[in-house]
């Protein structure tokens, strides 16, 4: 009865649970890295540090330069965070796929290894 219940769960809700856990991890990473907010503000100035353009051409050019730097800083930081998020997603995907594949094979693998050792 114990083994029957265990295997029943393993190939039933246990397996689908692996899929749900992967989904939860994806959502957690998206939240932790603020993917939506960072994507929407990818090119926004860093912490809204901007210079108001003055009247002269020189001032305008300086403001343009300053603001471009602020946006560049903002973009760089956000880009690397998004990159880290992307890598995390790739890692999670690989882990998730492996889990989904390995999960149903694990009992079979265990039995196969036991048999192989005994033979």
């Amino acid at each position: 009865m114990f083994m029957l219940d265990l295997f029943g769960w393993w190939y039933g809700t246990g397996w689908t649970g692996v899929l749900r856990a992967t989904k939860r991890r994806f959502s957690g990473v998206a939240q932790a890295f603020s993917i939506q907010a960072l994507t929407h503000t990818l090119f926004a100035p860093w912490k809204r540090i901007i210079t108001s353009p003055g009247a002269s051409i020189n001032d305008k050019l300086r403001a343009l330069g300053d603001n471009l730097i602020s946006r560049l800083v903002g973009f760089t930081i956000r880009f690397f965070v998004l990159l880290a998020a992307m890598l995390s997603f790739i890692g999670l995907t690989i882990i998730g796929v492996l889990e989904l594949i390995v999960w149903p094979l694990l009992p079979l693998l265990a039995i196969a290894l036991i048999v192989k050792g005994l033979l």
């Binding site: 265990l6 932790a32 809204r48």
Partner: protein, 786 residues
């Protein structure tokens, strides 16, 4: 039909999960790790059995994973009772037992959820064996009730607490027990609601409020951090405790207003209604939920008026700081400013300043979202003084929630007090805090006033339990009223009230009887709590004891003769005098409203009531009917703990005539009342409002003699300072009565006569050294200097 099948697969799995437990899980994991690593090492060194060891390790890992993801807390499977009953509950039940309601209670009563319910209802769970049926057949309906309770909460799982509540709700014996404890069977429902809300919070786990990059697109706010308090950051750090308010009409209205383009909201509500809590709830809602773009990622910062004022040391610096703060908030792009007690920013005075000229451009531009919390009175004041400014605010009016919702807020607050102070706050204490704060705290709204009273009750807890008595003690201490049940000494005094009053009053037996009955009714809690303790119209000639009885009530019932608010109604004959009566006390310290607010537990004596202006009499109708009046500021004041006594000489001659004809008071009481109405001296609606119309009879000479003896007691009290005591012979007393008696003025001239007769005589004797300290003097009629 729901049944308890303990051989059900979920029941078996729950028991297995309990057997394995956390320790078993760790053991399995360690074993699996040892097998896998050891086996791999064996394979590495060409020991062929290593494969089997690795395979065994993987097999051991499987039950560990089974426990971790399933057996630890077997999830619900279907809509039946057995498909939904909590895994934890299943572990409390023995598989081989046939359960009845009684045995089921025994199995679950020690569980924390069942204990939560019994403790908060003050039920002794250990002594409740006889409360439930022993018949297993009776269990089915209880299981169905538990399913119904879970459905009511939209809960997939039937928790132990729901089952315990179903058992308690089904038992007539428990209902009787609760009734004997001044609770009701209906109290079980709010307590299980309370438990459910707690379980929701416990099961919710930590909340996610964004992520590392959420605020990178908004500006720095160093000044706002210095002069403000970030409500959103506070919720992120300490967790959100405002979930219950997030769906309230107030928060919903604010979100709708902002979504529809409003930039500035006036959050209007009386003190205590929870304006600050609503701002916190809005902050939590913005953090926790997907929002309209105008609210997304917004941080609510409350500006600290005191910090701003204290930082402005030079003229103009205040304006500079405020403009800076506004610019910073606008520039940051994700800030919503909250002005708690906004009145501080609207007028110049101690601890406040007028910032309307600085705020006005921001309001007109709509460049930043602002919330101003203010009372209705302050809002009306702003409208009157600065309509242009007030017109830019979108009002969101907070109204008092229904009683069950307020009790729920109180219960949730009690949970925090319990955790912080390691105490138990039963539901009866919460209900009492609600009732008593409603009665005695007219200046604040719910739930604030009830929360304040509950907090004040904590020091009165006995053995770590805040009981109904603790709450009563708190209100008695803070308001000076009698809220608790009469103690034995006081009960004895109440039962012998007539004797106590007669120690200082002669005759007027019926009047004393009527008043004593009313006071006993009030103290025993059988009187209408929405009206004054008692309201009486004393009719009779002057000097027969009307005022004296009022003083006696103040002294005996309210413990001090000074607990009397006395108004001579002949001073209120003009229409304009209405405002003097209703003044909130700022300009008229003698106003009735001001005095009753200071001393709610008093005798209100309205002398010569018939002389008051008709409009004032109309006010009295409301006071007698509803037990409250509204002052000129719009605040209500309660008269529900006062004894209202109106006196009048109207009909005095008729009373005298009836008495002279040998009639008793009871014989002509109603006829006299009719006469007073027919003659237009009193309106029937006023007379009908009094609990009793009490007639005072003129005093007979022998009663006046007793009055003289009472008054002599007072003279002796004065002379006691000189260690001299005086006694009057019967002839002396009768001589004073003869001289002092005036049928029109009753006993009133008696005091003058006594003064002349005794005090003058004694004074002369002292000065002539005929009396020395320690002497006892007996005066006979010829000795009196009359």
């Amino acid at each position: 039909m729901d049944s308890l099948d303990l051989q059900h697969v979920r029941a078996r799995h729950a028991r297995l999960g309990k057997k394995i437990g956390q320790g078993g899980f760790y053991l399995l994991c360690i074993l699996a790790a040892i097998c896998v690593l050891g086996g791999a090492a064996m394979v590495y060194v060409h020991i062929h059995y290593g494969y089997s060891v690795v395979g065994s390790g993987l097999l051991v890992l499987m039950p560990a994973l089974w426990w971790r993801f399933y057996l630890r807390d077997v999830p619900p499977t279907d809509a039946t009772f057995m498909g939904r009953i909590s895994s934890h509950c299943l572990t409390l039940l023995k598989p081989d037992m046939k359960y009845s309601p009684a045995s089921l209670w025994e199995a679950i009563r020690s569980d924390s959820q069942a204990s939560f319910i019994t403790q908060h209802l003050l039920l002794q769970s250990g002594s409740m064996q006889g409360c439930f049926s022993e018949d297993p057949v009776a269990l089915a309906s209880i299981l169905t009730d538990a399913v119904r309770i879970a459905n009511g909460y939209d809960s997939k799982t039937i928790e132990v607490g729901y089952l315990a509540a179903a058992l308690l709700e089904s038992s007539p014996v428990v209902a009787d027990m609760l009734k004997h404890m001044k609770a009701t069977p209906n109290d079980i429902v709010p307590v299980r609601d309370w438990l459910h809300r707690l379980l929701v919070v416990l099961h919710a786990g930590p909340q996610q409020f964004g992520g590392i990059g959420r605020d990178w697109a908004s500006g720095f706010t160093p000044h706002l951090n210095q002069f403000g308090h970030n409500l959103s950051a506070s919720i992120e750090r300490h967790g959100g405790h405002f979930s219950a308010l997030m769906d309230s009409p107030g928060v919903r209205d604010m979100k709708t207003a902002f979504s529809q383009g409003a930039a500035t909201i006036a959050l209007i509500g009386p003190d205590g209604i929870g304006k600050t809590s609503h701002a916190y709830a809005l902050a939590q809602s913005v953090l926790a939920e997907d929002q309209d773009p105008v609210l997304q990622h917004k941080q609510i910062i409350e500006l600290d008026a005191a910090a701003i004022i204290s930082a402005a040391r030079q003229p103009g610096q205040l304006e500079y700081i405020l403009v800076n703060l506004f610019n910073e908030a606008i520039h940051a792009g994700n800030i919503m400013l909250f002005f708690d007690d906004a009145q501080l920013f609207f007028h110049t005075g101690p601890g406040s300043f007028d910032a309307t000229q600085i705020l006005l451009p921001a309001l007109q531009g709509g460049v930043i979202q602002l919330i101003f919390a203010m009372t209705p009175h302050d809002y009306e004041g702003l409208r009157a003084s600065n309509m242009a400014f007030a017109g830019l605010l979108t009002p969101v009016v907070l109204r008092e929630r229904p009683e069950p919702e307020i009790l729920a807020v109180l219960a949730d607050t009690a949970t925090q007090y319990e955790a912080r102070n390691n105490m138990l706050i039963p539901y009866e204490a919460i209900k009492t805090a609600y009732t008593l704060s409603g009665r005695y705290e007219a200046d604040m709204a719910y739930p604030g006033k009830a929360i304040r009273l509950l907090e004040q009750s904590l020091p009165h807890a006995t053995q770590g339990i805040v009981t109904m008595e603790s709450v009563e003690a708190a209100i008695e201490q803070t308001r000076g009223v009698k809220a608790g049940a009469a103690a034995p000494v006081e009960a004895d005094e109440l039962l012998h009230l007539e004797e106590r009053i007669h120690e200082r009053m002669i005759n007027q037996t019926r009047a004393v009887q009527v008043v004593s009955d009313a006071l006993r009714r009030a103290r025993a809690g059988v009187a209408n709590p929405k009206r004054p303790i008692g309201s009486f119209l004393f009719l009779g000639p002057t000097g027969v004891g009307k005022t004296e009885l009022a003083k006696a009530i103040a002294a005996v019932y309210f413990k001090d003769e000074t607990n009397m608010i006395r108004l001579d109604m002949s001073e209120y004959q003009q229409e304009v005098d209405v405002s003097r009566i209703l003044s909130d006390g700022q300009h008229e310290s003698k106003s009735l409203i001001f005095n009753i607010r200071q001393h709610p537990f008093s005798v209100v004596l309205l002398d010569e009531i018939e002389k008051a202006h008709p409009n004032i009499l109309n006010l009295l109708l409301q006071m007698l009917d509803e037990g409250q009046l509204t002052d000129t500021s719009g605040r209500t004041v309660s008269f529900k703990d006062a004894v209202i006594i109106a006196t009048s000489n109207a009909g005095a001659d008729r009373i005298r005539q009836h008495i002279e004809q040998g009639e008793e008071l009871e014989q002509f009481e109603s006829a006299l009342t009719d006469e007073l109405i027919n003659s237009g001296q009193f309106k029937p609606e006023l007379l009908n409002r009094f609990d009793e119309i009490v007639l005072f009879r003129p005093l007979k000479p022998e009663e006046l003699a007793q009055v003289v003896r009472l008054m002599l007691g007072e003279v002796n009290k004065t002379l006691a300072n000189q260690n001299i005591s005086v006694e009057l012979s019967d002839s002396a007393v009768m001589r004073i009565v003869t001289v002092g008696n005036d049928p029109r003025l009753g006993a009133r001239p008696m005091r003058r006569a006594l003064q002349r007769a005794v005090e003058n005589t004694i004074a002369g004797k002292i000065l002539r050294h005929e009396i020395n300290p320690g002497d006892h003097v007996t005066l006979d009629a010829p000795d009196l200097s009359l």
